[in-house]
């Protein structure tokens, strides 16, 4: 308390000032353009354009989870997109270090926009598999489903009832879980999806986004 009254100050100057300098200068530079070209399906110009936009938005070269949630929530103003954004963040953040850098970003986009159907399905499976153990349990699916329905918000027609997500999960499992063991593995998932024509057709929709 004496410190507050400015009485005890002269002695404690040195300690705290050094720590504060380090935090603000974390930065990330991406790998070279050629390497990224090799890793993704984008052309050089597309990569340049993507990087310019990315750098404009995130001058430090990194996106942390909070920023990501804010950005993604802007697209869904009626509902709460934070939970789904969290799952999405984990899907993009491949090395699980809590930040997305440009490589993660662009590799993820490459898969989504220029990948083959199998790759896209793999990516989707990776998204649903929250703990990345290779299979989707009912709880994981329910979490994902609830987060998607949360994005709809309150004002929907017809209104979202409380058991809508779990019904949807049951339908999903009925369709995907071949051996009825309560989990969906990647092979079951890919196999079932490839047999479904609607899903395959819809995969083409987002190809010319960039």
């Amino acid at each position: 308390m004496l410190k507050q009254f400015g009485v005890w100050e002269p002695l404690s100057l040195d300690e705290s000032s050094e720590c504060e300098l380090e935090l603000s200068t974390v930065r990330h530079q991406p790998e070279g353009l050629e390497q990224l070209q090799a890793q993704t399906q984008f052309t050089r110009k597309e990569l340049q354009s993507l990087y310019r936009d990315f750098k404009n938005e995130c001058p430090s070269g990194l996106v942390d989870e909070e920023t990501f949630k804010t950005i993604y929530s802007q697209f869904f103003p009626q509902g709460d997109a934070t939970t789904y954004a969290h799952f999405l963040f984990n899907a993009f953040d491949m090395d699980r270090n809590g930040t997305i850098h440009f490589e993660d970003f662009v590799i993820g986009l490459s898969v989504l926009l220029r990948g083959s159907e199998t790759e896209k399905l793999r990516w989707a499976f990776n998204l649903y598999d929250i703990n990345k153990d290779g299979c989707i349990t009912k709880e994981e699916m329910l979490a994902i489903m609830t987060s998607i329905y949360d994005m709809m918000g309150r004002y929907t027609y017809p209104s979202v009832r409380d058991d809508d997500p779990s019904e949807h999960v049951d339908k999903f499992f009925q369709k995907m879980d071949r051996n009825r063991d309560g989990v969906v593995t990647i092979d079951e998932f890919i196999e079932t999806c490839q047999k479904d024509e609607d899903i395959m057709a819809s995969m083409q929709l987002f190809e010319n986004v960039i």
Partner: protein, 635 residues
């Protein structure tokens, strides 16, 4: 949409792939994007300073000039760039907005220039970022205040009234601006004198005079010379009442006047007298009557009409109302706290003056304002300790809001100083404008006299022609076209009034009966029309004050003595005069390009002609446009 959101849109759409396996219905088709996706660098040349940017950057904001196809109008094929003839320094900020999504306000720039640039490029000022928003708002408010002062100064105007001002207008003008006529000045000083006399009388009548012969007690002067004082009082009240009634009569809006502060003060100053007349000489009631006499002191507030400083003080207090409120509130809080503490601290002491908490309020206030009368003093040690804390905190609490009040006073005082300076500057400025305009019209009339475009001697025309620029040629040609169209000619003021005198005598009797039955406005009587046109010209110009009609409308259209044309068919004549009016309004507005803000007054003081107002209004709306775009600087 913010740049950020636009950037992330492709990402959000891509992430939607994650919903596909879960979808219960088929997905809708995506929108087809026909624009080419490849990005290119655009060159933008702003007054010689060359900027380059990606096309995508500009496309982020499609509802601005640069983001839409509107910029194609500025594309220069030869140099393959977009050329804007605007301020290059400002353009830097505009382009930064596109790049970063945040608009910053440069502090060293004039706010009006900045707003004009924003308007040109189609950017609304409201998206200025938080970092600069406060500065922008302050400057904008300052600017608006200054403009309001300007218009007020012009309105209030020391300029003379239009000739048809009623007695009411004259009276009101005399009251509001005493230095406009000697009568008003005399009235001003007389009322000031009587206010002073009244206040001094109120003060003196309570002073003890020598007692009457035979009695010992000192009498207040009021009772000794009661007749004299009551005569004085009556006289003053009569004068004040007269003044109030005259002001009420003269006020343009009686409701507003009755509600204004000064009128309330006037009423309160004279009311006690009248109430005293009405009230019976009752013992109980006279007590209340005595209280009413206190209100006579309000007469001193009437001085605020005479003193600018008092008005400023009043303004300041008004402006600082919230600070004063805060001061009062915090003082009250502190008073209650300390009074309670002192009361309980002194409770034990025998014979203490701190008999109750409300009684302690008095001690607390006296101590906090460092007065310290000493009528109530704490005895116990606890009481003394708390008493000292009380006085220390009192100084602080009172000192805090004072700088705010002081700075507000300074601001308002400077505004007033500025208003006075403005007035002086306005006079000079308008004198200059008058001279310039006269020069232009004289040039045209001179040109006509010399034979001008009509031919005449080749020698004289050659001489004349050399001295004029291409611009003047075109202008004169235009004026001549107008003359030919309307079959009237331009003259100057002197000739016009002479002609008018002649016409009014000659034409009134024969014309008025036949044509006055037509739409009331299209009279052919020169004088009537001249009067109306004078007003209409004054109203339809874009300048503000009614009083400046003499300064601005130096071009009157005279009626040539083409008496043979009058017996023509009425519709024809009417059409021509309507045509005439239309051209007249457009013309004068185009010529008169004083860069003052668009007027408010024209709308109110529309002339009473029901038939033509539509035309006039249309022409007025076009006059606003022409005023902005046609800035003929030679005038």
């Amino acid at each position: 949409m913010a740049a950020g959101v636009a950037t992330w849109m492709p990402f959000a759409r891509a992430a939607a792939v994650g919903w596909l396996p879960l979808a219960q219905q088929t997905m809708p088709k995506p929108p087809v994007d026909k624009t080419s996706r490849s990005d290119e660098i655009l060159f933008v040349n702003v007054s010689g300073l060359r900027f380059q940017t990606w096309k995508n950057t500009l496309d982020r904001y499609p509802d601005t000039l640069l983001g839409s196809s509107e910029k194609e109008f500025f594309y220069n094929e030869e140099t393959q760039e977009y050329f804007f003839d605007r301020d290059p320094e400002m353009f830097r900020h505009i382009l930064n907005f596109f790049r970063t999504g945040k608009l910053h306000y440069p502090r060293h720039e004039c706010i009006q220039a900045f707003e004009e640039e924003l308007a040109f490029y189609g950017i609304i000022p409201e998206i200025i970022g938080d970092c600069c928003m406060e500065e922008y708002r302050d400057r904008k408010k300052e600017n608006q205040e200054r403009l309001a002062e300007d218009t007020e100064a012009e309105n209030a105007g020391d300029a003379p009234l239009p000739p048809d001002a009623t007695l009411r207008d004259k009276l009101w003008r005399a009251f509001e601006n005493p230095h406009t006529s000697t009568m008003a000045l005399v009235f001003y000083y007389v009322t000031g004198f009587f206010i002073a006399v009244s206040v001094i009388a109120n003060v003196v009548e309570t002073v003890p005079c020598r007692p009457l012969k035979g009695s010992v007690k000192d009498l207040p002067c009021g009772e000794k010379f009661s007749v004299a004082f009551s005569c004085l009082d009556t006289a003053c009240v009569l004068i004040f009442s007269c003044e109030y009634l005259m002001r009420l009569y003269a006020a343009p809006s009686r409701c507003d006047f009755a509600r204004s502060v000064m009128s309330v003060i006037d009423v309160v100053a004279i009311l006690p007298f009248y109430i005293g007349l009405v009230m019976p000489e009752n013992e109980e009631v006279s007590g209340a009557f005595v209280t009413l006499r206190v209100f006579r002191v309000f007469r001193i507030f009437k001085f605020s009409r005479h003193s600018q400083g008092l008005r400023i003080l009043g303004c300041t207090l008004q402006a600082c109302a919230s600070e004063l409120g805060f001061l009062l509130f915090s003082l009250t809080m502190a008073v209650i706290i300390f009074a309670t503490v002192m009361f309980y601290a002194e409770k034990g002491t025998k014979g203490t003056t701190f008999s109750s908490i409300p009684a302690s309020f008095w001690y607390t206030i006296v101590t906090m304002t460092t007065l310290g009368y000493g009528d109530m003093v704490p005895d116990s040690i606890a009481g003394k300790i708390f008493g000292s804390i009380c006085s220390l905190s009192g100084v602080l609490v009172i000192a805090l809001p004072v700088p705010v009040i002081v700075s507000n006073f300074a601001r308002i005082y400077h505004q007033n100083q500025r208003a006075d300076k403005m007035r002086a500057q306005q006079k000079v400025r308008q004198a200059r404008i008058r001279m310039a305009k006269k020069g232009a019209t004289n040039a045209f009339l001179q040109h006509k006299e010399d034979g001008g475009l009509q031919g005449g001697d080749s020698d004289s025309t050659a001489l004349c022609v050399k001295n004029r620029s291409a611009f003047e040629h075109q202008h004169h040609h235009l004026l001549q076209c107008l003359e030919k169209t309307t079959n009237h000619e331009f003259t100057d003021e002197v000739t016009y009034s002479e002609v008018c005198m002649m016409d009014s005598v000659g034409f009134r009797t024969s014309r008025s009966t036949s044509l006055s039955s037509q739409q009331g406005a299209t009279t052919t009587c020169c004088s009537r029309r001249s009067k109306r046109r004078a007003i209409r010209l004054a109203n339809s110009t874009v300048s503000v004050s009614r009083g400046s009609v003499q300064e601005l409308a130096t071009l009157h259209i005279t009626k040539t003595p083409v008496g043979t044309q009058y017996p023509q068919s009425r519709s024809n004549l009417n059409a021509r005069t309507e045509d005439l009016k239309l051209n007249c309004d457009d013309y004068t507005a185009a010529i008169i390009s004083i860069p003052t803000p668009p007027a408010n007054t024209p709308d109110e003081s529309l002339p009473n002609s029901p038939a033509i107002p539509g035309i006039l209004r249309n022409s007025r709306s076009s006059t606003y446009n022409t005023q902005e775009t046609v800035k003929i600087s030679s005038l």
